[in-house]
């Protein structure tokens, strides 16, 4: 049984007793906090893993402003608190700083993964489920509009959806050369055509299924969204605003969650300490896909840096998704506002847009 070690940062340590002043002053190893222990998690195929989730003591802006120090702190945390762990998973800001995991991986004698491949898979699954449920609605645009280019997740998700046969539109105000090259390569690889949209208000006025996958969030927050629009919000922070998420007539679905294996049972629920629930938790039955990715790799006995750096490989997205399914992780239900999306509501939305 492999042990995994999950590192998360951001505001998490606030909930664990560090003051905002302490966090903004600098990066101190003495403030590293254990969020929870994962004593024994069993997958549906009988494989197991165990581990520990640790929070870094800093505000996101401090980590982003001091990347070299942040990488050092992550290394210290992984070495001191990850004794016996054979795989390091990164979440939140930890997966961004230091070349998105590459700098940490280069200086650590253990594999590191950002979890981005399984996050992309979970998002694709969510989009496909919604597309299947909604595309029969009269007047509902068949295409999926992706916002967030040239972000890593937007590009990867675009290619995965194309490979699955969904019609995709890409929004960017100007489509710079590098992005255009990437889209052309996707079109060549899949034989599909990606419609380029440069006017976001115009594209959003058509409604339909919209994916918010920007890197810094807030991309849709100030935009007017047509009633009946369904948004899959993959961004962290989210692309939609709180008001949009509460607005009747709009459906904002969380796009980066997977259900835990049925067999995980009591041991998994035992790991859901108040600290976990406060800083990571999505309830007893679901988990961020980036946290699930090292669990899946662990259950598979795969000691490898599966997702690192800027590029997310669509083939690896499908590979980790298949492995996750084998072990009982999956997008079995959809979630909105941290609650399960009632099938009746989705059906009604699919029929009437309400």
């Amino acid at each position: 049984m492999l042990r995994i070690f999950g590192l998360r940062a951001g505001l998490l340590p606030l909930a664990l007793g560090s003051s905002r002043r302490q966090l903004s002053e600098g990066l101190h190893p003495s403030n590293i906090r254990i969020i929870t222990e994962l004593p024994r998690i069993v997958g549906d195929a009988g494989a197991e893993c165990s581990g520990r989730i640790v929070g870094l003591p800093s505000l996101p802006e401090v980590l982003l402003a001091h990347q070299e120090e942040a990488v050092r702190l992550m290394r210290t945390a992984a070495m001191q608190y990850g004794v016996g762990c054979e795989l390091v998973g990164l979440g939140a800001v930890c997966a961004i700083v230091g070349l998105r995991g590459e700098a940490l991986a280069a200086g650590l004698p253990k594999p590191v993964t950002t979890g981005n491949s399984l996050t992309c898979w979970a998002s694709a699954e969510t989009v496909c489920k919604l597309h299947a449920a909604l595309s029969a609605r009269p007047g509902f645009p068949e295409r999926v509009l992706i916002v967030g280019f040239p972000g890593t997740m937007a590009e990867a998700l675009c290619e995965v959806l194309l490979r699955r046969g969904l019609p995709v539109e890409a929004y960017h105000p100007s489509f710079p050369k590098r992005l255009e090259r990437a889209l052309l390569a996707m079109e060549k690889a899949t034989g599909a055509t990606i419609a380029r949209r440069t006017d976001l208000p115009e594209a959003l006025a058509e409604g339909g299924l919209v994916v918010g996958a920007s890197s810094l969030g807030g991309e849709l927050a100030a935009m007017k969204l047509r009633s009946g629009t369904v948004v899959v919000d993959v961004a962290q922070p989210l692309d939609t605003s709180e008001a949009q998420r509460r607005r009747p007539g709009l459906l904002v679905v969380e796009g980066e969650l997977v259900a835990m294996p049925q067999a995980a049972g009591a041991q998994w629920r035992g790991a859901l300490t108040s600290a976990y629930n406060t800083v990571v938790g999505q309830g007893a039955h679901r988990v961020f896909a980036c946290l699930a990715e090292p669990m899946v790799l662990s259950m598979e006995g795969r000691r490898e840096s599966f997702s690192l750096g800027k590029r997310i490989d669509p083939a690896r997205v499908e590979e980790i998704g298949a492995l996750a399914t084998t072990h009982g992780f999956g997008v079995r239900e959809l979630y909105t506002g941290r609650r399960r999306l009632d099938e009746g509501r989705l059906a009604a939305f699919g029929t009437t847009g309400r």
Binding site: L64, E68, R100, P176, K177, K310
Partner: protein, 137 residues
């Protein structure tokens, strides 16, 4: 360590090539980092990290904005996210490598990164190395 201007540019260019996967010949001084090279927000972090490592320097986040704000001597920098006329003038001075016709009324603080050129980073490094050398004297 003292670098020639050419050596500095070569290292800055390498940072862009590695971070963005663009060709060397695309990374010219006047290339716009977002519009010409296709960078997104997180790419800026990667570029800065690579440059900091290459030169063993620390690039302060938001340094250009801070310089422009400092130069305002307490005058208002922005209103509802839009730069004031004074701020625009100071930004033109701080970012003299940018075509001044692009620093115009209505510019929002969140759009400042869109002005960044490869030369912006090059000049930042030159200044940091100069400050570092001065501090060592």
């Amino acid at each position: 360590m003292a670098y020639t201007e050419e050596e500095i540019f070569d290292k800055v260019r390498d940072a862009f090539v590695e971070a963005l996967g663009v060709d060397e010949d695309e990374v010219v001084m006047k290339a716009k980092v977002i519009d010409d090279l296709g960078a997104e927000s997180l790419d800026f972090l990667d570029i800065v990290f690579r440059i900091e490592r290459a030169f063993d320097v620390k690039i302060p986040r938001g340094d250009l904005e801070r310089q422009a704000q400092d130069a305002l001597d307490g005058e208002v920098y922005e209103v509802d996210g839009v730069l004031t006329e004074h701020a625009l003038e100071k930004l033109k001075a701080v970012m003299s490598e940018v075509d001044p016709s692009e620093i115009v009324h209505g510019l929002r603080t969140k759009d400042i990164p869109r002005l960044f050129l490869v030369e912006t980073f090059y000049r930042m490094v030159v200044k940091l190395l100069r400050d570092q050398a001065a501090a060592e004297e």
